[in-house]
Symmetry: C2
Amino acid sequence: MKIVCLGSGNVATNLASAFKTSGAEIVQIWSKTLANAQALASVLKSQAIDNLNEIDKDADLYLICIKDDAIIEVASKLTELKGLVLHTSGATGMDVFSNLSLTNYGVIYPLQTFSKNRKIDPSTIPLCIEADSEETLTKLRSIAAKLGPLIYQVNSVDRKILHLAAVFACNFTNHLYQISADILERNHLDFDMLKPLITETAAKVQSALPKEVQTGPAIRNDELTMRKHLQLLKSTPELVNIYETLSKSIKKTYL
Amino acid sequence: MKIVCLGSGNVATNLASAFKTSGAEIVQIWSKTLANAQALASVLKSQAIDNLNEIDKDADLYLICIKDDAIIEVASKLTELKGLVLHTSGATGMDVFSNLSLTNYGVIYPLQTFSKNRKIDPSTIPLCIEADSEETLTKLRSIAAKLGPLIYQVNSVDRKILHLAAVFACNFTNHLYQISADILERNHLDFDMLKPLITETAAKVQSALPKEVQTGPAIRNDELTMRKHLQLLKSTPELVNIYETLSKSIKKTYL
């Protein structure tokens, strides 16, 4: 399978690498910044381009891994292609492709968090797929299966819901980790001490629902401890606000 | 080593079980509700009591695992003991013991989240210890070492900071998991789909600082996606508030 990867960021790096490992050939990496394309292309033994007119017309798959608001512009320049065109965005409908002159298209949304310098086992990535026809879906399903077994057929509406849920479960969660790291750093305590707790908190909800394993002062309605915590946070009103907002939400859940 | 465990909740269950596994004898479980003491005592082959006057005076260790605001009352009734008295609370200073007639005392605070029906490998629990004297500290260190290698000497001020950081990294994080589970449930989507993302988000910060691996629309300042998300949340004003509060905090961090 010959793949052109459009984009060179976190998602592009991880998905293109995963396809390469599965045996596909990454024939081109396109980026509007050639140096970025070159950086990824050199790893994947691929050609780096920054001009969409130079796109290989004979690839089997065109994988668009770029900012949401740039998808339509880039896709509109992908003409005379027989290969399958996919975007990888959680928040973008498949209809972004519908008025373009594409032969077949769809979406492969990896429900995972990617960083360039961290490899993820592709078999642990849930792949949410959607296609313009049953025929394309069959093709897409077999392409996704090269990466891993966690394949879900998800329409554009549900994909947006998953993306929203992922913001809470991943992006906001990581920010809470950061707040805790900052609190420790300001007090010359080592973030390493919190790592087993972070691991266990995530491990618990693999086999139980989050609401079954909620712990802490808010669910116990332990007002004394919460007041002490707010006292410790008083020099950072923003953290007071986050603490109060989340504690109130926890209390409300278990009323 | 003979241990009396005061309390029968999540912390008591996990710590007493871990000590038992390490070879200690749990001679008594006290709870103000006898049935609760009996439930744990039957598992640990221990005596259940609900009267503090019946406490075994010859134990080596008295482990207080009860609500923070009940510690002083229970501890004040522990008289004529030669054994070491420890509480396990993050938010409570060691000075809660200082005006009582205890021979030696201290704190062993397990920086972990516990649920009764989930066993944790004790070797992965950071144990924060504090003692009333160097002599007691030496004794406490050797007791803690029976459970695992992650032993930190932490004073009462720093312990409260760790407890606060743990609320963000664990209790609030679990609540975000729950919000994401609720969002999926309302839309008939399976929480299982988010589990690999939750695992990876926690795994990332084991080897990188959270601020190095933050992803999502807020850090990209992707206003379009954030507006779409707020639109999806509009029937739940409380979630709109949490979304806006945390997004604003992320944006501010990376300005």
